[in-house]
Symmetry: C2
Subunit: 482 residues, 2 copies
């Protein structure tokens, strides 16, 4: 029985008789496996299709008459007829009255050779903006996801809502009010795939209303400047100093909107001062301008309680944007906006264009994760661990290179390290790379990278297990050029 199911018939159509009779080119094999895993007709179709695709059966070639091939293969003639019909419907074959079935002639290109898949093997230490994958609360996340799947009703698995699942919007409203002092109702929340998509959505909605210029911090996260331009808007760079974005320059810039990360400007690490927070909120209110608040890592504030969101000060003029990318993991692609009610419909419309909606089961899982207190618990658990890593890194750097200045250590998951006079960013990055270290240059985050003060960014979300000393040695050597 075992022998029978694995038996197969192998037809070499380049045998003299068959080749002559049916016009098959040299080297075509059709092999039928009778074990039943795949139907005989499907096998025959697949073999012929592949032969045509790989040009082993050339355009114009005549196929054997169905009766002949059926006998060769020891299968029913009707199966061959059906297979020919299927391939004719797909455009591979054509039937001619009286002259049989041929491979259709067509003038198409064959695929070019693809480059090989590569998997870069880098040390993840010092990567900026990445929380430690090892901290991801797999068990608790899985529990929440399972509950989401178990309870998912017909509506949860119907067409997804472009605004996002109401369960998550409700859970976020409570959470953000408690943790970030954000004022919202579930109607004001729009779920999206992270903060960068939130920015795309906001920019599309603003652009459609005639907004052309949006102020951005200089430096700011470089991708954001590209996203703004991709929406047809102009990013207007405004300097950041030690008190954060310089609001007086915003006022002069004749913009209708401003993108800012008040809790922790990227990459400089500056925190917007209390006076400037109020100044910015008042400017927006007077001008009826919009503040897009990028609250990407405010949960990780180490030396004091996180400063509440700017949104709470001016909810009618702020679109607040946050995500789980830093507190949980960026691979989840779950983020949110809290917007003034008058903008919500336009934001939903823009989100619909980009991808209809964010996937539902992850949203439902996050809602359960938040409601179970797992998110708050997770943050309480990892915040001291990140602080400890930061302290270790600061200590190691101070010991080896006391001459280096480090900025932005109050919050987030990275340090801003201005380079000593005469040291070029590019040289440091390349030297670090030779030691397998991924160190990010800061220049690209400036509007004018060429004139940016040389600096590198050193992430501490992920530090090598037991390799901190060696990694810091390598970093210091890269900076000193030794």
């Amino acid at each position: 029985m075992a022998a029978k199911t694995s038996s197969s018939t192998k037809i070499q159509t380049n045998s003299r008789r068959t080749a002559a009779d049916v016009g098959f080119p040299t080297g075509l094999h059709i092999q039928i496996d009778r074990s039943g895993a795949l139907g005989i007709r499907a096998q025959l179709e697949a073999a012929l299709r592949e032969a045509i695709q790989q040009s082993r059966l050339q355009p114009g070639a005549t196929l054997p008459p169905s009766r002949t091939l059926a006998i060769e293969l020891g299968i029913a003639r009707s199966v061959v007829v059906e297979a020919y019909g299927q391939l004719a419907a797909e455009g591979y074959l054509e039937a001619f009255q009286g002259s049989g079935t041929r491979v259709r002639r067509r003038d198409v290109r064959t695929p070019s050779r693809a480059p090989a898949l590569t998997q870069p093997a880098m040390n993840m230490a010092f990567t900026t903006g990445l929380p430690d994958p090892a901290f991801f609360p797999r068990k608790e996340w899985l529990r929440a996801y399972r509950a989401a799947v178990d309870e998912s009703s017909a509506t949860a698995l119907g067409f997804p809502d472009p605004q996002g699942r109401v369960e998550l919007r409700v859970a976020l409203g409570d959470y953000l009010a408690r943790v970030r002092s954000v004022r919202s109702s579930p109607e004001q929340v729009v779920i999206c795939n992270g903060i960068s998509q939130a920015l795309m959505v906001v920019c599309r909605a603003l652009h459609a209303r005639g907004t052309e210029r949006i102020a951005v911090e200089d430096p700011c996260f470089a991708l954001h400047r590209r996203l703004i331009a991709a929406c047809g808007m102009q990013p207007v760079s405004i300097p950041v100093d030690e008190h954060g974005l310089v609001i007086s320059r915003v006022r002069e810039a004749r913009v209708d909107a401003v993108l800012v990360a008040p809790a922790h400007s990227y990459p400089s690490g500056a925190v917007l001062s209390p006076a400037r927070r109020v100044e910015l909120a008042e400017w927006a209110t007077r001008q009826d301008a919009l503040i897009v608040e990028d609250d990407y890592d405010a949960e990780f504030r180490f030396d004091r309680t996180p400063v509440g969101a700017l949104q709470g000060l001016a909810p009618e003029n702020v679109v607040y944007a946050g995500s789980v990318s830093k507190v949980l993991n960026p691979s989840l692609r779950l983020g949110w906006m809290v917007a003034p009610q008058r903008l919500v419909r336009d934001l939903i419309g823009a989100k619909l264009l980009y991808d209809m909606a964010t996937e539902s089961l992850g949203q439902l899982a996050l809602a359960k994760f938040i409601e179970a207190g797992s998110l708050a618990r997770h943050i309480r658990r990892v915040r001291p661990r990140y602080r400890a890593r930061r302290d270790l890194l600061l200590l190691a750097l101070a010991k080896r290179a006391p001459e280096l200045k480090l900025l932005g250590a109050m919050a987030g998951l990275h340090l801003f390290l201005p380079l000593p006079n005469g040291v070029r960013e590019r040289d440091v990055i390349l030297a670090a790379k030779e030691d397998g270290l991924r160190v990010e240059g800061a220049a690209r985050h400036w509007a004018e990278p060429a004139s940016a003060p040389p600096a590198v960014l050193v992430g501490y979300g992920v530090l090598g297990e037991g390799t901190l000393d060696a990694d810091v040695d390598a970093l210091v050597s890269a900076i000193r050029g030794t």
Copy 2:
């Protein structure tokens, strides 16, 4: 002990002495819960912040001196000082040398009233394009997701790859070759959030290369026409007849690209004929034009084996787009493109702009789901059930209204129902809606809805449990106007 942890101090600051002393307005209550769930300082901050946000503490109001409030609340003075400091940092309060702490004056708008959340309660029967949520293979999906979370390595939870997880790209390559005759290598696959995002990604990439006009079927899925316009391109409408898209008109249209659903045009249900498939592939090759193949529901072909993808005929000139939206569920937002190698880099760049990447865990789950054979098994399981539903619906309609013509029944999850002479689409939709039935009009899918032949779309992916007869009665009555 229980009594102790739940004890609380309630300070009514509108008591005469306190109100006079501290300048708090009438009605402000600060309540400290000592059970320890939330820190005392956090509670105090939250109470003050909320009072300011809700204007119970007006701008300019002086807060009690920290010593006074500490005594009132029975807490340490340092806690009050810290809370005031925190709220000052957030911009809610300001401290004046010698004159205490006041609520910051600021000129901001208060939120407008939001509309109530509504949950429409419609019968889901006849909804077009929706597979039955009850068929979703929860147990198998969850098993795949759990395996994905358990095995997710550091890289799987690192920054997501804009091209998509290699595990899924490999699994899809095998699956699509087997089931859809798509020719690809994993380097040619780009993961996205469904077919509509694929179209946005392709259009952005094409537009950046200077493509201005893309041919679309008339009728075609209405959203796609909007997406194309949103990318700054012009959709050029080409008629669809009973053999599918009229290729001779494509040739005349001077376009560089064409969007087509060869296996099952939406909403007409037309299948592109073998001759036209070849004609289209040859046109694209000669013109070096691009075919975007929308393969949204080809797995559901009922009267014969699904026709293989057009991509197999001309892989160098086709971007093939598919998703799990019809075969599994649209709420998963998982789709893919298979593109000629020369376009892949641009597609990845466009995908990065839209949302960095598709979420990873769902991708890994789908890879496992495919590799375990669960997807093929699921399709084998549900296809006969959808066919049975279609047959039931056809039978019920034929019995009650033999005069009605029905098109597009060979495949997919919906029928195209041209309305009898003189019957208006709008009237039918409204009459059906009064019976709680969601029937979709076809007009909006035409380039010129006003001159579209009146028709409605009747989905059978979801049919009411035991209500088919009543639903069909209601539909027929709506059409007959009785």
